[in-house]
Symmetry: C3
Subunit: 360 residues, 3 copies
């Protein structure tokens, strides 16, 4: 258990800390604040674990589970990266962790989701909560020179992605029943999704060049998608096909949505919708399909089970969107001193730079 | 045991290697020489372990212990970073490891310190030895343009800090009797000290901005302080309060000392006094207090025990200061070709740059 | 086994990914393509493991073994870094993995090499295959401004080297019979080779300065050399002497070869000949010597055994060189659209840069 805790904490601290450093002038805040947010998130989660033991007499998943729940917060922060001050972030962390735990209780006790599957909803919850919060903040001007990456910041972000990539099999197996199978399937899905990321990225860009953002997002999409069914998939090729489709959804999804529905989109600073949101929806649906195919003999109760699974999925997304919208409204109160649009994506709002003369 | 060794070596190689890269023009030397120093330190420590088996017929703590002792050397190097050439560093490593082992023997055999507590004196020893050595080197001119960091070097240093932060629980539990409790308490203390670092840093800087240096130092201070009593603290809130106080000591200590006693300070290149020195003194005193509170019934021998604990603390500091001063004097002999003040903090003294034209 | 797999995958993904980032304008491709290549390599290797089970009814070494075989590919890529487009890299990966597995079967079944020793031939195979492929590509112009490193890219490469360095003991012990001894011996050899790297580098450069390239190469050479005999060396000092000699071969070898035989050399982008090739040849020979010294009593069969060991070494090198040359010829077919010399070492051939205006 110590090793699982260590793997998850590496993933949270290094992985997400550096995954988010792609903005040119926001690298201090990305690493610093994600450290702050992760720690606060884990502490809130541990408290919620204890509350859940007091209220329901059952521990959900202990300390590693508390660390895993924090992933929701880091994903949400990714959607509003650079737009919130630390005070707003802290409020969001506390609200989100509480709501996520309540949502998990309902998933487990009313909708009969397993502990593993209800935990994998963390990606869904984090992504849609973050997007809903983000929709309440102003759009940055499209030609903002600060909302961009440099090759160097992209490279650091790639370092973070590699950390996430390597530790993802551990993450998917912490609460799984058959841990070895979960690890093996996750490795396969991640491998295929990373290879496919290159292919799809070359396909949709001009001149067939690769775009680092696509690689980063699609390489992780496979791990998100496979999460739900990682311990129940019996054939390696199924895991590989899931990885391929996850990568396609991530890369092509972002391409279609941005070119076809430009009016619908809210600003999504680090593309959490395509990295975590859509692949998780797909993974949850795939898990339902596997479930149906697996027990096709026992017809009577199957409709009920399928309805409950899809219900859990819709419930998590709805809760995330509604509470996210409310949180977004609350965070725009003057009380929290929200930062003006012109100061978005700017380290200098929060950090002392004794070396201002030196170009970054 | 293999895993502990791996964790400690990760901490030494990555953590300290990159923790020290904050100087603008000294990043090659910081990583390169800290690799050199760590390896030499571990080899000296293994030799000293064998000498101690020959002399006293008892192994102090084996290979992981040898790796842990090397922390003293890396901390000391942090205090004189950029002022010594490799030859001087090597001499300092050998002298410091030998003196630290002698000091540990005396602590264990005469002052009856436990193996775990005497090992935690490594922070104290390293910090005060380094400060004493540093006091024998000239001050760099306060407006030296090279004694500064850039955002990029600060970020790399943050990467190192995160490595140290994540592996600190392993470090504190290697020699602890109750390993799980030591890990849990260290995690809590580190979490609280990192959160508090943001609060205190915002408190003492102008405009309430954060300073990266504060975050780096104070986030680690909690782990240093909790080290002494990590395996004997029974209530989580005690660990959390220790983390909070450690963070306060680290941030406010540096603020007070620099503003009130400007004459007393010696130049402390990477702030080891506030990262390792003061928090370790506080942790050692806290451990004595816990000890007294824990066995308040057995009155007769308690005075003796307390005296021995405080004696061990004072003894380690005195030995570190005295031998550090002597070493500092020796290192300034012409024999070692000490580098002039104007060449401090300069990679180009030691490394070939085929790419000099390119700005760094 | 899960832990070994994790260690090897960390080594491959972080270690080699960042070890190869030293080129100024090629860091995206170095990390991105080495991710792509490693994943494809592991998948090919898993397939070949299954083929080998089908054909010979014996699993060579399972999933960790498949990951280890991929090291051959990453080393080869190091030799032609910046000269191949992704399509060519993929072809090379597939060919090289297939040939390496065939060469391992022959080593094991005909030349009676142990599973561990035949796996250590991965360094030999990778280096000489890569060099042979590289000899079929044009030389970059010696004053190419792109074929150079900056201090920053050298530092990232050092980060990768440290990853490799720390995980090397795990790598050498995966297939070893006596794992603890293999780890201990590898640690010692690595420690000595890193210290010696500084000494030798200072010796052969002008003014006694260090060169980062030497440190990077020689620090790893010890691990490569000790690999063959890691689990059979009984005295620590033997491991230390091997580390010292490996470091000498790596640093002085590159010095001699470049100054004495300038006509013979093929362009070796990341010095794989001196990091992996020569130290592996030395390690394989040293293993034969140890073998002879170990069983000097049983005279009759010893000549045969020695011949087989040396035969395995020569066989691996010959296969690598011949198939490497053929692969190099095939890769220069117009079919793969080889890139012109003027576009070598250039990220912009493959990656979109929305931030071109910003200097890198």
């Amino acid at each position: 258990m110590r090793l699982y805790l260590q793997d998850v904490s590496h993933m949270l601290i290094f992985g997400f800390g550096f995954f988010l450093t792609f903005l040119k002038r926001y690298s201090f805040s990305s690493t610093g604040f994600s450290l702050l947010i992760v720690i606060l998130g884990v502490q809130c989660s541990i408290l919620m674990e204890h509350v859940s033991v007091l209220l329901t007499e059952i521990s959900l998943s202990g300390i590693p589970g508390a660390a895993m729940s924090t992933v929701a917060v880091v994903i949400s922060i990714g959607a509003v990266l650079g737009k919130m001050n630390p005070m707003q972030s802290i409020v969001m962390v506390v609200v989100e962790i509480v709501v996520f735990y309540v949502s998990r209780w309902i998933n487990i006790y009313l909708l009969q989701a397993s502990s593993h599957v209800s935990m994998m909803h963390v990606h869904l919850f984090g992504a849609y909560f973050g997007l809903a919060v983000s929709s309440r903040f102003s759009e940055p001007s499209p030609r903002s020179e600060k909302n961009a990456s440099t090759p160097r910041s992209d490279l650091l972000s790639m370092l973070g992605t590699l950390f996430l990539w390597v530790f993802w099999p551990s993450f998917n197996s912490v609460l799984a029943v058959e841990k070895d199978r979960a690890i093996f399937n996750t490795c396969l899905a991640l491998a295929v999704s990373a290879v496919a990321a290159f292919a799809f990225s070359g396909l949709i860009t001009k001149d067939g060049k690769f775009r680092m953002t696509h690689i980063r997002r699609a390489a992780l999409a496979g791990g998100v998608t496979i999460g739900f069914a990682a311990d129940s998939i019996k054939h390696p090729w199924i895991a590989m096909i899931l990885g391929l489709l996850a990568s396609a959804i991530s890369v092509l999804g972002s391409f279609c949505l941005q070119s076809c529905l430009p009016t619908l989109r809210t600003h999504d600073a680090s593309g959490v919708h395509f990295t975590f949101g859509l692949p998780a929806v797909f993974g949850a649906l795939a898990e339902v399909v596997f479930f149906v195919m697996d027990i096709q003999t026992k017809l009577p109760s199957i409709g009920n089970e399928v309805l409950l699974s899809i219900g859990a999925l819709c419930f998590t997304i709805s809760v995330a969107l509604i509470t996210g919208l409310i949180t977004g409204l609350i965070l725009n109160f003057k009380l929290w001193k929200p930062i003006p649009v012109s100061k978005y994506f700017e380290d200098q709002m929060y950090w002392e730079f004794p070396h201002l003369a030196v170009g970054f």
